[in-house]
Symmetry: C2
Subunit: 355 residues, 2 copies
């Protein structure tokens, strides 16, 4: 059995209807609301075919039909219409741009808030992946007798810093000297590229106070392990799920919220790719229900996009919601917000590029 134009139209109607109603869709309903020029009986027959083909499912015999993951996939790939952003959407996203937040975490927090408010789903953002950026500057600043601040800046202009305790008391002069040594030895490398050999080399070059290397190494390890760092994942609108009937069951709501609490898992869940325009810039990845690896996500969909600093995709943003998601709207909003993110980040950091 093949998928004629008519079946496509009916499938599209069922998905569209189900996305707004959240109720199994019946043939009569489609016949009345969508002017397909067909009687309910014909639609009934076609829907039976669509069920056989795996695009629709029936919760029980006397209920209407619900799209399957395969049905949503077909809808997303071939059937859905482009959504035109509303004036309000455009305005809200634009005003986010105008806040001119020049702190990365604030920028992300704010963008996530905007995305979750516009879509009514849970927005997920990852912070720029720091470890793949080449080191431009490394700076050590004494804070007090027992601690100093390590500051790292990449070529892309992203900065990270951490206060570390000094293993023993050293003079500010020594710290400056050490700082210069690090800068000389590590500039141009990415964090990931720093090898044991490199560390040995630095150690050789130092005459004394090797201990001061340990907190620096700790910091580097910290950055490499950032998958496990809670601060690397930003969520907004976690309670939005309560707006959807699929989560009116307390068990499901709990499951979802506990999932969201587990940042490393979330990070993993959104880092895979499933792109329509594979590899291209501004590609959107959509994972529907069972297409997700994780069991807890088998009944959820995730839409993500990359955001860029220069040519490098440094982080992800997107939404998590029920498979019954308004894919068309969500995609457009994510596209627009990621475009703005790129623009803002370019303005903030681009001037550092390539030097």
């Amino acid at each position: 059995m093949d998928m004629g134009e008519r079946k496509k139209k009916i499938l599209s109607s069922v998905v569209t209807e189900y996305i707004v109603s959240a109720e199994p869709v019946g043939s009569r309903n489609i016949a009345n609301k969508y002017n397909l020029g067909l009687s309910s009986a014909t639609i009934r027959n076609e829907m039976a075919d669509l069920e056989d083909m795996g695009y629709l499912e029936q919760p029980h015999t006397s209920a209407g039909r619900v799209p399957s993951d395969k049905g949503y996939r077909m809808y997303v790939n071939e059937l859905m219409n482009d959504y035109e952003l509303s004036v309000r959407d455009i305005k809200v996203i634009k005003s986010m741009m105008e806040l001119r937040l020049n702190q990365l975490d604030k920028l992300i927090t704010n963008a996530a808030k905007v995305l979750s408010e516009l879509t009514n789903y849970t927005a997920v953002f990852t912070a720029p992946e720091f470890k793949k950026g080449a080191i431009k500057t490394i700076e050590l600043v004494p804070i007090d007798e027992s601690s100093m601040l390590i500051i790292l800046v990449t070529n892309e202009g992203i900065m990270k810093n951490k206060r570390v305790m000094l293993p023993k008391s050293v003079t500010p002069e020594f710290i400056t000297k050490f700082s210069n040594l690090l800068k000389e030895k590590l500039s141009g490398l990415t964090i990931e590229e720093i090898s044991v050999g490199k560390i040995q080399e630095i150690k050789q070059a130092m005459q004394t106070n090797f201990e001061i290397l340990f907190p620096v190494l700790d910091f580097i390890t910290d950055i490499i392990d950032d998958v496990n760092k809670e601060t690397e994942v930003y969520l907004s609108g976690t309670t939005n799920i309560f707006n959807y009937p699929e989560y009116s069951d307390i068990g499901r709501a709990r499951e979802f919220l506990e999932l969201l609490d587990n940042k490393p898992v979330i990070k993993k869940a959104i880092s895979g790719n499933n792109e329509r325009r594979q590899g291209k810039k501004n590609a959107i990845s959509i994972k529907i229900g069972g297409e997700n690896e994780l069991d807890a996500l088998k009944n959820k969909s995730i839409i993500t996009a990359d955001y860029y600093i220069g040519e490098r995709a440094v982080g992800k943003l997107g939404v998590i919601g029920p498979t019954r998601m308004d894919y068309a709207k969500a995609v457009k909003r994510i596209e627009r917000i990621s475009a703005y993110m790129n623009k803002i980040l370019a303005e903030l950091y681009q001037n550092n590029k390539g030097d």
Copy 2:
């Protein structure tokens, strides 16, 4: 009618029973489980008295009784026994100490996690209130052509930093000069004490490039407004509420989780005091149901303690949960964890004290 020993025993039994069962407590139940040497009929009479006096409430005529806020208050003030921390409690808390986290946010995140896991309630921590600490050092470090890092350290050793964009390009030498000027003018003041006059004074002392003052002022404003900063409140165990039958209703669960999402409100909610040992160090504050100002908290209880750096109470930690809370256990665990926090913070920062 006054509150005899017998009434107290019965009230205590009802509260104890209700804390574990979450079901309205009947007279027969008490007569059987608690060896008070009284028949259910007698207990029934006493419970009727306790209801008249406002310590107990009846959901409906044919149900058992439930403690009122006043009942819990009496229990907390006079009736409850000291809970002895279990070996596991002590071990878990101790192992938290042994992690030697020397980054404040990590320390707090971890302590919150421990508290929420031990109590099974939602743990709330506030970051140390920075604006009341006297400035010890202020440092400006150039990051790249268009930005610099402002680093502030208080007498207590707490540090904050922020990357700010330079309004116009300035030389590193100028930044150093400006840095020294700020240090000279602002040392010893608390953030709150920095006045417009002071700013004018700094401006007078500068010959050029006044614009560089603006990002510094932004930073200071940021710190003063920290009530509104999401990062200043740490939560852990937000999904713990799903363990309690009072939140098996989706509406209530939602209400609670939306409340927790609103950090400024949470901060306000825990910052009031209601202490048993007013003003004394290590005092525990307990707010039961209606004793809370906020409507959303009228059916919840909050237990908090202060934590200290030196002599100053810099932040709060505690739990939020249903009024049917195991007060005795929660109090002990909070006490122990705050004691550890104090110890760790003393070791980390105390050496800065007073210089």
